[in-house]
């Protein structure tokens, strides 16, 4: 198992607003972590884990929230990465990071099969995207709610 799995998962809890049991239940935690590691490469991912560990070390939830808002999201280096993680969780796709981010990090432009390209990593990524769940609905074409369920309040 990835030694940083717990760190990654706990940080995803902070940015998605969902408890870890829900994120685990999607089955895409490992896939998402692997994708992130592939996109960032070893040097950057190590820095990223260091940064988020400083956030997770704060015992108070509002302190963690404040740190993300004031330090992580405004960071030119990791702000776009975290935003993309939110996209990955909520919409089930990875968006190619912008040119200026690549220039800053000297990461290569992703090719047509590289992890960093704009793409839906797997069917499960689509099916488990959090947005529809958040709206108490389901992604079109997956997880149907059953005959007539739409005429009643969602469960």
């Amino acid at each position: 198992m990835n030694p940083k799995r717990h760190t990654f998962l706990e940080f995803c809890v902070e940015i998605t607003g969902y408890p870890s049991v829900v994120l685990e239940g999607t089955g895409v935690v490992d896939l998402n972590q692997q994708l992130l590691e592939d996109v960032l490469g070893s040097t950057l991912i190590a820095k990223f884990y260091l940064l988020i560990e400083t956030v997770l070390a704060l015992s108070d939830a509002s302190e963690r929230e404040k740190r993300i808002r004031e330090t992580v999201l405004p960071s030119p280096l990791f702000g776009p990465v975290v935003t993309n993680l939110i996209r990955l969780w909520y919409l089930g796709y990875w968006r190619e990071l912008p040119d200026d981010w690549r220039q800053m990090t000297s990461r290569p432009k992703p090719g047509p099969t590289d992890a960093g390209r704009t793409h839906v990593p797997s069917e499960l990524s689509y099916i488990e995207q959090l947005s529809y769940r958040t709206a108490r609905a389901h992604p079109p074409g997956a997880k149907p709610t059953g005959f007539g369920s739409w005429s009643r309040q969602p469960l």
């Binding site: 902070e14 940015i15 998605t16 607003g17 969902y18 929230e65 993300i68 808002r69 999201l73 975290v82 935003t83 939110i86 996209r87 909520y90 919409l91 796709y93 704009t118 793409h119 839906v120 797997s122 069917e123 689509y126 099916i127 995207q129 959090l130 947005s131 529809y132 958040t134 709206a135 108490r136 609905a137 389901h138 079109p140 074409g141 997956a142 149907p144 709610t145 059953g146 005959f147 007539g148 369920s149 739409w150 005429s151 009643r152 309040q153 969602p154």
Partner: protein, 595 residues
């Protein structure tokens, strides 16, 4: 290259096109013992359960192009479908406006990605000229078609409520029931039903209520206890699946369980019939009808058979038939007839192309209505389908969407990201916004206009050398004035009664729409996928392409079926009417045999 018949066999009937109209005709004619050949331009992949499942996988992983109705289906440059960003452009749009509707060229046809709304036309829709001095009267009345509406409703499998339709002016024989009870109406519908109970609008000095009515749809629901002997037809992959709509909410572009009707079901049933005389040849694009110059009779169909999708290679073939039926849809039928030099004394061939111009209105309900669940349209505001106002502007109906706003959830997620939201606050705001989204799709009647037309140009062909459809198209004042009434009069009334926050925004033009300007108002219009006109039926050879039996005036053994034969479009989605006309034509074809 002139291909000779490679068939020992001469068929009683050759049908071009394996969509709903071709399938219904094929089933009825082959069941009567006639030998039928169905030529299909696209592949027959959808009939293969494994391939059908691969469309679903493709749909899940395709990302941004997911919204396009043709998106999940493999691109096919050998038999192109229009408005699909994954393949070569198909329509040659001459303007002044774009024709923004599409269809699917694959066995099963456009019903693979249709929505399944299956309203009958109103009796008055057949007599628009007499009633309102607009459009053209049909050569037949509603009552000529009524029996075939019933047949189509049972063949396709419609769930609906007779009383609610009758209240709108649709006539049924006593005791008639649809095969299935109406689809359960959504929470979104219930919200509008409550709020619009007393709402009415004034159009040219006359009040009209804004009545929310359940929608007849081609989806499996609870069989009507009075519909003796009816069993919902499940998926062609596995009949035990799809016997009820289970709320996948992806009917367009595809229903994973085929609880929504598609033409594969009719074809599968026809093929299963004992001693069937139906043969289907897919990947065979009909390119020309061969006509005997002396007798005027069509002797058969020339077609191009390709083995590899997207390659410029094909084998030219010819097959003979005693009767030829074109069921390739309004645009393709016109292209094929034009390519064949079919005689048309009326000058109407290819003309009078119609669609339902479509305007999207949206807002946020004051309370959660939990959209993004169930089939898209289970009700609509239906009370403006007819009225004296039709002397001045078009009638329209507003389908109530169960799928929130277009472009969601991406739109809301991006907007929250743009405001640096994350965590619990993000989650709460997203829930609040998405669960209150409401959207109306206003579908507007369009009059026949000879300048709206399909033509061909020898310089514009596809990789097999078949003609691309060249389209001239525009919206007229009659439709656009109705759009203005919907936006300026009807929508604000709904907004007020329902306490909706109006978020309709015409400042940018989303893909697939075009901007128009009418009565000082700028708004966006798109198409509905409803191809009507192009080979209208009529009383005489000098005013129409086909007679009341959908038989070509000039070529006695050529029938041209589907919505292209319709004279006007009214406000109902056209497929049920096209299906009824096709069943009627099939009956007439069999009758000529007996005679």
């Amino acid at each position: 290259m002139q291909a000779e018949s490679d068939d020992q066999k001469k068929f009683d009937v050759i049908i071009v096109g394996g969509g709903v109209c071709g399938a219904l005709a094929a089933k009825k004619i082959s069941a009567a013992g006639k030998s039928v050949l169905l030529l299909e331009a696209g592949t027959k992949e959808a009939m293969d359960p494994g391939q059908y499942d691969s469309f679903i996988s493709r749909y899940y992983t395709m990302g941004a192009t997911r919204g396009s109705p043709n998106g999940p289906y493999p691109p096919n440059n050998s038999a192109l479908s229009p408005n699909d960003s994954n393949q070569d452009p198909y329509f040659v749009q001459v303007g002044p406006q774009q024709f923004l509707s599409d269809y699917l060229r694959m066995l099963g046809g456009t019903t693979l990605h249709w929505q399944g709304t299956s309203l009958r036309m109103l009796p008055v829709d057949f007599e628009m000229q007499t009633a309102y001095g607009r459009g053209t009267n049909w050569p037949i009345t509603y009552d000529h078609l009524e029996r075939f509406y019933r047949e189509a409703e049972w063949e396709i499998g419609i769930c609906a409520n007779v009383e609610e339709q009758a209240n709108l002016g649709v006539r049924f024989p006593p005791d008639y029931v649809y095969p299935m009870e109406k689809m359960p109406q959504s929470l979104v519908d219930q919200f509008f039903m409550r709020k619009l109970d007393h709402a009415e609008v004034d159009l040219f000095g006359k009040p009209y209520p804004l009545k929310v009515v359940s929608m007849p749809v081609a989806r499996n629901a609870t069989p009507n206890l009075r519909a003796t002997g009816y069993t919902p037809v499940g998926s062609t992959a596995d009949e035990s699946v799809g016997q009820r709509c289970q709320g996948n909410s992806s009917c367009s572009p595809l229903c994973p369980v085929q609880a929504k009707y598609n033409a594969l079901k009719t074809l599968a049933a026809a093929l299963k019939t004992k001693d069937t005389h139906l043969e289907i040849r897919s990947q065979c694009v009909a390119s020309k009808l061969r006509v005997n110059a002396c007798s005027g009779r069509v002797t058969g169909v020339e077609y191009k058979e390709y083995s590899v999708r997207g390659k410029a290679e094909y084998t030219a073939k010819f097959v003979e038939g005693k009767v030829v039926v074109l069921a390739a849809n309004a645009i393709e039928n016109a292209v094929l007839m034009l390519a064949s030099g079919v005689v048309d004394d009326s000058g109407q061939l290819g003309r009078n192309l119609m669609d339902h111009p479509f305007v999207v209105l949206r807002g946020l309900a004051p309370e959660p209505v939990y959209p993004f669940r169930g089939p898209d349209i289970t009700s609509g505001v239906e009370s403006l389908r007819d009225g004296r106002f039709r002397e001045k502007h078009a009638a329209f109906r507003a389908g109530i969407s169960n799928w929130g706003w277009v472009g969601e959830p991406t739109g809301s997620v991006e907007s929250l990201i743009g405001r640096s939201q994350f965590g619990k606050a993000f989650r709460e705001q997203l829930c609040d916004r998405m669960s209150r989204m409401v959207r109306l799709g206003v579908m507007i009647e369009q009059l026949p206009d000879a300048d709206n037309r399909v033509t061909i140009d020898p310089a514009r062909t596809d990789i097999l050398g078949n003609y691309l459809p060249v389209l001239n198209y525009k919206y007229d004042d009659y439709s656009l004035d109705a759009a203005v009434a919907a936006i300026r009069t009807v929508w604000p009334t709904i907004v007020k009664h329902a306490g909706i926050e109006d978020t309709t925004d015409f400042s940018s033009v989303p893909g697939g729409s075009q901007s128009v300007f009418q009565q000082g108002l700028r708004f966006n219009v798109t198409g509905s996928g409803h191809l009507v006109g192009t080979h209208r039926m009529g009383h005489s050879a000098d005013s129409s392409v086909v007679d009341t039996e959908l038989r070509s005036w000039a070529h006695g053994n050529l029938y041209v079926i589907g919505s292209g034969s319709m004279v006007t479009i009214g406000t109902s989605n056209p497929t049920l009417t096209a299906a009824a006309l096709s069943l009627r034509a099939a009956e007439n074809i069999l009758k000529t045999w007996r005679e």
